[in-house]
């Protein structure tokens, strides 16, 4: 007989101020998660979602399989060849079936945060971000644009929020960028902090430092290309579209051309 969720050991991972508590009968796996999300875990009794993790051995794993996400009738359904999840949004409860791999939990958390943020006017982006002088800056662009480079060039007084997946949350009519434990090629976990978002920068490597405002329609298109969306569900697509339009209307979006020296950071102030 499966133990009720309430008596299973759990770890709470809070990203962007949204705590998700994960229950699992496998204590050793929870310890792995606590290490994987170190800096973003706490023992608070409060949680936005309670998820039960059922560890499985998948029948077959397709490395090219894309995740399918549906939001319907108050449920979120996530399907991929190696894992699946069902979340009852109103009950704030869900069930995840996944292999015993923190990377699988990482993937599911990214998807769930995408859905949570979409309903709150925020987004996750393939972007690097950092705080300097109390303001957050988010750098986005296609692979090779220089997201890791701009982070590597950051001065010592900058605080890394993420080198891979940036978290943009809406608070009334303003936006904040939050640190995440989702790492990229630099394998550096972001600081668990946040700051008001000063700007979004589409990166272009060049031979000088330049900032050029983007036209709103171009900015929406460029930002949408970097937003984690997991496609398929029209409701989620619409929510994310509205969120990006609101974001572009309120936060400056500029093309940042830069060469490989730290002087670019002074141009952002």
């Amino acid at each position: 007989m499966t133990a009720p969720t309430a008596v299973l050991p759990a770890v709470t991972v809070e990203i962007g101020g949204l705590p998700i508590r994960m229950h699992c009968a496998d204590r050793a796996y929870l310890d792995d998660l606590a290490r994987r999300f170190s800096g973003f875990t706490h023992a608070s009794p409060d949680a936005l979602l309670d998820l039960t993790l059922e560890l499985i051995v998948p029948d077959a794993v397709d490395p090219d399989d894309e995740v399918r996400v549906q939001a319907r009738d108050g449920w979120w359904s996530i399907e991929r060849s190696d894992c699946s999840a069902d979340v009852d949004v109103a009950a704030r409860r869900g069930h995840i079936r996944q292999p015993a791999s923190p990377y699988a939990t990482d993937s599911v958390l990214r998807i769930i945060h995408t859905l949570l943020l979409a309903g709150r006017g925020g987004v996750l982006m393939h972007a690097a971000s950092a705080i300097r002088h109390g303001k957050a800056h988010v750098f986005f662009g296609p692979s090779g644009a220089g997201k890791s480079t701009i982070v590597e060039l950051a001065p010592d007084d900058a605080t890394l929020l993420s080198d891979e997946i940036s978290y943009v949350r809406r608070e009334a009519d303003t936006y904040v960028a939050c640190g995440t434990p989702f790492t990229g090629e630099l394998e550096r976990v972001g600081a668990n902090t946040s700051a008001p978002l000063a700007g979004l920068y589409r990166l272009v490597q060049g031979d000088s430092h330049r900032l050029e405002p983007m036209a709103p329609a171009d900015a929406v298109r460029a930002v949408l290309e970097c937003v984690l969306c997991f496609a398929v569900d029209p409701l989620v697509v619409t929510q994310i579209f509205e969120a990006v339009c609101d974001l572009v209307a309120r936060v400056p979006v500029q093309t940042l051309t830069f060469r490989r020296d730290a002087g670019i950071w002074d141009r952002l102030e």
């Binding site: 319907r72 009738d73 108050g74 036209a215 709103p216 329609a217 929406v220 298109r221 949408l224 969306c229 496609a231 029209p234 409701l235 697509v237 619409t238 579209f241 509205e242 339009c245 572009v248 209307a249």
Partner: protein, 102 residues
């Protein structure tokens, strides 16, 4: 026979910086319409024939009376119908619910 046009219920749109940005939520395709295209898009509510949209919206707002605006509008509308984001009919089109927000 009059033609009525309506925005596909699976689209969402926003006017920013003088341009209309439209997304087709079914497949996430994005479209950017200029000022005239945006005005036609906003007028595409399924209740007015296209020739009325030409005179009351395009001619009136953009001073195109006496030009071949009707042909240009018809081509524009046809393009968007082919893209799947506009619905055209010989009768008024009932207001359709948008993407289910429940």
């Amino acid at each position: 026979m009059p033609t009525y046009i309506a925005r596909h219920p699976m689209t969402a749109s926003r006017e920013l910086g003088g341009e209309m940005i439209v997304i087709f939520a079914r497949d996430s395709r994005l479209f950017t319409l200029n000022e005239v295209g945006g005005a036609i898009w906003k007028a595409a509510d399924g209740t007015r024939p296209l020739d009325v949209i030409v005179t009351d919206v395009v001619d009136a707002e953009f001073d195109t009376a006496g030009t071949d605006a009707a042909a240009d509008v018809a081509q524009f509308v046809d393009d968007l119908v082919q893209q799947g984001i506009l619905v055209a009919s010989e009768a008024p089109i009932p207001v359709a619910l948008g993407v289910d927000q429940s």
